[in-house]
C-alpha cells in the first residue's frame, strides 16, 4: 500500500526519467544507483566506467566539488543525516576531524576490512581509525613529496635544468631559497621562483616529525621549533621577492600555470594531475625532481561510506575495489596519484613508470622512493583549519599587510581560538 502511494506521489511529482529523488535505490532500468562524492582529480573516470561495465546492475554517478566545498558539504550532510553520497572521499587534512564521530560512517572492519588491512601502509590504515578501532575509510593515494619545475624557465635564468643537477641545487630548503635568489637575479620578466608562500610552507611542515598536533591531539603550534623555522625561511623567501603570491588552488593559481608565472611548485604526487589538468599546453616543459630535505607527506585521501546511504553493502564493494592495489596501480599510471598499498612499490610496472607530460621523468622511481622514505606525520582533529590559518598568515605577509612576526603571532592566536 505504502509503495503504491509512494509511486503515485512520485508519478505526480516527476514524469519521464527524472525519478532520482524517489526511493533513491533504483536508477534507470532497475539498476542500483551509487553516488560517489570527490574533490579534485582522483583519476577515477576510466575505473568507474570499467566497474559499471563488469557490474551491469550498477549505475555510478560521480559528483566532484572543490576541496573545501566538498568537506563542508559532507559535514552538513552528516549532521542532517541526509544528502551524503554513497561513497564520500575525505582528505588527510580532514580525516581526524571526521573520525571523531565514527558512528556516522560504516565501520569497514565489520565488512571485512580487518581481513584487508595488510594492503595498506600501516600509518595510512591507522590514521582513519575511530576511538574504538572502527575503520571509517579505505586509503586511496598518499602525497609523497617532490618538486615540479619548468626546465625552460630555469635554463632562461642560467640555472641547470637536468634532473640530477637540479636536485643537487637544493639538498635543503635553505639552499632551495638560495637557488631562488640566483634564479630571480636573471629570471625572465614576471617569473618568480615559487608559486606562493603557503604552498612551500605546507611541504616543509609535511616533512617535520611533528606537525600541528602531537599524538595526544595537543596543538604544538606555539612550541614546535620546526614550524617556526620553516615559517621564517619562507618569510625570508617572500621578502626576497621569490614568490608569485598566488594562493594555492584558486583560479589565479591555475592561471599562473598557464601563464608560466613561477618556475617551481612543490609536488605531492597528486599535484602532477592538477598541473596536467590546469595547463595541458605546457606538456614537456615541466620536469620532476626530489624535494629539499627528503621524504615528507602532503595530502592523500580516503574513501568513506556514510551510514545514511541506502546501498551500504554495494558501496563498500565499490570502495574496496577502487582502493585495491590493482586499481591504485592504474590510477598511478593514468593520473600520477601515488598508491598507499606498499606491495606496488616493488612492482616493476610502477617503479619503471615514466611520465611523458613531465619530460619522461622517472616518477615511478621517484615517488616509490619518496613513499619508502616517508615518515608519516600525525594529523590532529583540526589540521585542515590550522593549515588554512597558517596559509592566511603567510598571505598577509605576501600582501604586505603584516611583517613575519605579527602574522605569526596572529596565527598562533587564531589557532588557540580554533580549539578553545
Amino acid at each position: 500500500m505504502r509503495s503504491k502511494t509512494m509511486a503515485l506521489v512520485c508519478a505526480a511529482l516527476v514524469t519521464g526519467t527524472m525519478l532520482a529523488g524517489c526511493g533513491g535505490e533504483s536508477g534507470a532500468g532497475g539498476k542500483t544507483k551509487l553516488t560517489i562524492g570527490l574533490f579534485g582529480n582522483f583519476g577515477y573516470t576510466e575505473l568507474l566506467k570499467e566497474y559499471a561495465s563488469t557490474h551491469p546492475d550498477i549505475e555510478i554517478q560521480d559528483r566532484t566539488a572543490s576541496y573545501s566545498d566538498h568537506h563542508k558539504n559532507l559535514a552538513a550532510h552528516l549532521a542532517t543525516n541526509n544528502g551524503a553520497a554513497d561513497i564520500e572521499a575525505v582528505d588527510s587534512g580532514y580525516i581526524a576531524q571526521f573520525k571523531d564521530t565514527p558512528d556516522k560512517f560504516v565501520d569497514l572492519n565489520t565488512k571485512g576490512g580487518d581481513q584487508l588491512r595488510e594492503r595498506w601502509l600501516p600509518w595510512k590504515w591507522e590514521a582513519s581509525l575511530g576511538k574504538e578501532g572502527q575503520q571509517i575509510g579505505y586509503g586511496t593515494d598518499v602525497g609523497g613529496l617532490a618538486i615540479c619545475y619548468r626546465r625552460d624557465l630555469l635554463e632562461a635564468a642560467g640555472l641547470p635544468s637536468d634532473r640530477a643537477q637540479v636536485a643537487a641545487l637544493w639538498p635543503t630548503w635553505q639552499e632551495f631559497m638560495a637557488a631562488g635568489k640566483r634564479f630571480q637575479a636573471s629570471a625572465p620578466a614576471g617569473v618568480k621562483w615559487f608559486d606562493g608562500g603557503p604552498t612551500v610552507l605546507n611541504a616543509i611542515v609535511g616533512q617535520a616529525p611533528v606537525g600541528y598536533y602531537d599524538r595526544s591531539d595537543n596543538l604544538t603550534v606555539g612550541a614546535n621549533p620546526d614550524l617556526k623555522q620553516g615559517w621564517d625561511l619562507v618569510v625570508d623567501g617572500v621578502r626576497a621577492d621569490l614568490s608569485a603570491k598566488l594562493l594555492y588552488s584558486t583560479p589565479v593559481w591555475n592561471t599562473g600555470f598557464k601563464q608560466g608565472q613561477f618556475a617551481t611548485v612543490t609536488c605531492p604526487a597528486w599535484q602532477m594531475a592538477k598541473i596536467k589538468d590546469q595547463a595541458p599546453e605546457t606538456a614537456g616543459k615541466w620536469d620532476v625532481t626530489s624535494v629539499p630535505g627528503g621524504g615528507g607527506n602532503w595530502g592523500g585521501s580516503y574513501l568513506t561510506i556514510p551510514k545514511q546511504g541506502k546501498n551500504v553493502d554495494k558501496a563498500v564493494e565499490l570502495a574496496t575495489w577502487l582502493t585495491a592495489p590493482e586499481q591504485q596501480a592504474k590510477v598511478f599510471t593514468s593520473s600520477g596519484l601515488l598508491p598507499s598499498t606498499p606491495k606496488l612499490y616493488e612492482d616493476p610496472a610502477i617503479v619503471n613508470y615514466r611520465n611523458p607530460f613531465f619530460n619522461d621523468a622517472p616518477v615511478g622511481q621517484l615517488f616509490t622512493d619518496a613513499a619508502k622514505n616517508l615518515k608519516p606525520q600525525y594529523q590532529g582533529p583540526k589540521a585542515g583549519d590550522v593549515q588554512t590559518a597558517i596559509g592566511n598568515a603567510m598571505q598577509r605577509v605576501e600582501q604586505g599587510k603584516q611583517n613575519g612576526e605579527d602574522a605569526w603571532n596572529q596565527f598562533v592566536g587564531d589557532v588557540q581560538k580554533l580549539t578553545s
Partner: protein
Amino acid sequence: MTALDRTARRHRWDTRFAPYAYVAPYFLIFGVFGLFPLLYTIWVSLQQRSLLDADGASFIGLDNYQVLFADPYFWNAMGNTLSLWLLTTIPQILFALWIAQLLNRKVRTRTLFRMGVILPNVTSVAAVTIIFAQLFGRDFGLINWGLDLFGAGHIDWQAGTASSHVAIATMVVWRWTGYHALIFLASMQAIPPSMYEAATLDGARNWQQFWRITVPLLRPQIIFSTIIATTGNMRLLAEPLLFNPGTAAATGGSDRQFQTVALYLYEQGFSNWDFGYSSAIAIVLAIATILVAGLGYLVTKRIQTD
C-alpha cells in the same frame, strides 16, 4: 430537519471557517519554514553543540552570547557587514532611480531596455561572482588592465579592506539595481503627467521636477526597496565567499578584511563545527538586520512631499 436547513447551516459554517482555511496554508508554511527554524536556532544557540554530535550537546545558557560579544572577529565581521550595507544599499537606490528615470522617457525599443535591466538579477549569483572575481584579478584582471592603461597602477583588490569592499559592492549593485529600477519605473508611470506639466509652467527644471515631484511620490517604493536591500545585504554570503575561492574561502580574505557576519556564521558552523556558536551568531544577525532595516525605514520616511 429539511434539506433547506442543512444547506443554510452548511453555508453558515462555510462563511465562518472558510477564511481560516484559505489563510491556513500560509501559516502552516510559515510555521514549518519560518517559526520552527527560528525557535530551534534559539534553542541550539543556548547549547554547546558540535555540528555532527547532536547527542553530545549540553545546555550552557547564554555563554555563547557572552563569548560572541567579546569576540573581535565577530565585531570585525559586523563592521564589514555594515560597511558593505552602506556601499551597496545607497548606490543601488540612487542608480535605480536614475535608470528608472531614463527608462520612463519615450525612447525607441523601450521594452528591450526594460527587460535588459532585469537580466543581471536572473543570472546565477555564483556565475556573476566568479566573473567579477576575474575582472578584479590582481595580475590579469580587466579592471587592473584598464587602470594600467591610464597609468593608475595595479590594485590587489582582495588584499585591502576598502578595495575588497568596493569590488564586492560592485557585484551586488550590478545584480540588484535593475530589480529596484523596475519597481520605481512602475510607480513613476502612475504619476499623472499633469503634475509635470504644471511644474513646467511654473518654470521648474528637469532635475527640480525629479527631486520635488518624482522622488517624494515614490516614497513608499523607496522605503520598500531600502528594506528589501537591507535584509538582503545584511546576510551577504555568496559574493564574499566566492570572491576569494580556494581553501580559505570562509575566512573572507587573509585578514578577514571582507568577512561578513553571514560568512563568519558559515565558518563557525561548517568549518569549526561549532553549531551552538553559529546559531548565536544567526540570532544576533537577525536582530541586527531588524535594527538596521528600521534605521533605513526612519531615514527614507523623512522624504517629504513639498
